[in-house]
């Protein structure tokens, strides 16, 4: 892994980043001294975590993808950072998300939009086990890193288009299974992609599982939807 000594090194490294995407979070943690960091595409680009320093921050991002709410989404839609220096003391802004994260050791969350012009390519998520407030310098540095990351993920997406053939997708955070299951439900019920996504999302929420887990069940046939008297039911 490439190691950056300080902020300037990190920016230089990220501007021209050629390392493994999985190592991005580590580079960021060299600069911003929080417990964990993750880099996810969302907004203009499809939702996908491309680097997460630990399981908790990966779970934080996945929960936000599955629920469609949370600090990342707000950062992406407003184009401004969203800071929750004390997650447990704060009044519930995202009840479902907070309930889902209750078992995770997360005290503070700071989300920074990865903007290219006015378009948000994704979000940089920082978390700390204890409540933690970023000072002005850390906030500015994280925002600058997020901006460089925005260009990196856009370049990455463009290269994939030019390459034509989809690359091997062996990321541990891949949401391929959700997309495939969505198509499966489209074929099964003749509904639209949006409707199929909502069905999977609703089932994940009501059974307290992730959309990737539900997607896996749909694809291996252990769970399927059936239309019965105009009602969509799931059959186990």
């Amino acid at each position: 892994m490439q190691v950056a000594d300080d902020f300037d090194d990190a920016i230089r490294l990220l501007r021209d980043y050629s390392g493994a995407d999985a190592d991005l979070a580590g580079v960021i943690l060299e600069v911003v001294r929080v417990t964990g960091a993750s880099v996810s595409t969302m907004g203009f680009l499809a939702e996908e975590t491309i680097s997460a320093s630990d399981r908790s921050v990966a779970r934080l991002d996945e929960a936000q993808f599955d629920l469609g709410e949370g600090p990342c989404w707000d950062a992406v839609s407003t184009g401004a950072p969203v800071s929750l220096p004390d997650l447990r003391a704060a009044p519930a802004r995202w009840p479902a998300l907070e309930a889902m994260l209750r078992s995770e050791p997360i005290g503070a969350v700071h989300a920074f939009p990865m903007l290219v012009g006015s378009l948000a390519m994704g979000a940089l998520d920082l978390y700390h086990v204890e409540p933690y407030e970023l000072d002005d310098v850390e906030t500015r540095q994280a925002a600058a890193i997020a901006e460089v990351l925005g260009r990196h993920v856009l370049r990455r997406a463009l290269v994939r288009v030019v390459d034509r053939e989809p690359p091997r997708d062996d990321s541990p955070f891949s949401r391929r299974i959700v997309h495939q299951a969505t198509g499966f439900v489209v074929g099964q019920l003749g509904v639209s992609v949006d409707e199929a996504t909502l069905l999977i999302q609703g089932m994940a929420f009501s059974t307290d599982r992730s959309m990737r887990e539900v997607g896996q069940d749909i694809l291996n046939g252990s769970r399927r939807f059936e239309v019965r008297e105009n009602m969509i039911e799931d059959e186990r």
Binding site: F44, L45, A46, G183, V186, G187, G190, L219
Partner: protein, 237 residues
């Protein structure tokens, strides 16, 4: 022009400008324009034409839907002040319709006179060198519009032109943005298409991908384009 009409014209500008700032529907904006002309200028009827993609003028909105008026405006768009204003980008004034001797304009002149119009004015919808349509004003009296009224009509038309061009460029850039987004996220729709085919053929997603790729190759189509059609159920194989 009286003070009351100046006031009405000022209000009309204010509401047109307000429409542009707060978001608008182009058809509403144009309807507001022709009605404003009818109300504040000395005109009996007004109609607005925009060029379609092939450059032909089409009547978009008018103060009346009467067949006679619509036909008259169409005649003007074929051979009359309307088409002349559109082609030259300049206002065309016909203060006395009865005196028009141009043979080519005869059809238009007779139709307009038959409806009791005595004068007609065509105002171009123009921004710099681009002419996108014309505004047509019909008066009951000879010399229906004073020079100052023609200038007011041109100013109203200019505001509408900016509104139309703004909306068009916004729509174009939005379409471009959507196309780019679809291209960058083509992996998602390919995965979805694999799911559709996996269900349809009872195969694994890996095999479904082979089916998708084979179809695209055999038909010399982009993988992502085939995937979009599979997911939208407009292509079955």
């Amino acid at each position: 022009m009286t003070a009351a009409r100046d006031e009405a014209l000022f209000d009309a500008f204010a509401s047109l400008a307000d429409t542009l700032v707060t978001g608008y529907d182009v058809v509403d904006l144009l309807q507001l324009l022709v009605e404003t002309c009818q109300r504040t200028l000395d005109v009996a009827e007004a109609g607005l034409l925009l060029a379609d993609t092939s450059g032909d003028l089409e009547l978009v909105t008018s103060t009346s839907e009467s067949t006679a008026l619509v036909e008259t405006i169409q005649l003007s768009a074929e051979s009359g002040p309307c088409i002349e204003s559109f082609q030259t980008g300049e206002p065309v004034a016909v203060p006395d319709l009865a005196g028009v001797g141009t043979e080519a304009w005869r059809g238009f002149r007779d139709a307009a006179l038959a409806q009791g119009f005595a004068s007609v004015y065509a105002i171009p919808l123009r921004l710099r060198t681009e002419v996108i349509g014309t505004l047509n004003l019909f008066g009951r009296r000879v010399d229906g519009l004073a020079a100052r009224d023609v200038r007011a009509a041109q100013a109203l038309a200019d505001v509408a032109t900016i509104g139309i061009l703004h909306e068009r460029s916004f729509r174009a850039s939005d379409l471009l943005r959507q196309q780019l987004q679809l291209a960058l996220n083509s992996r998602v729709v390919i995965e979805q298409a694999k799911g559709v085919l996996a269900h349809q053929h009872g195969v694994t997603p890996e095999l479904a991908f082979q089916l998708l790729r084979r179809y695209a190759r055999n038909n010399q189509l982009q993988l992502a384009d085939v995937a979009v059609r599979v997911v939208h159920r407009t292509l079955l194989f």
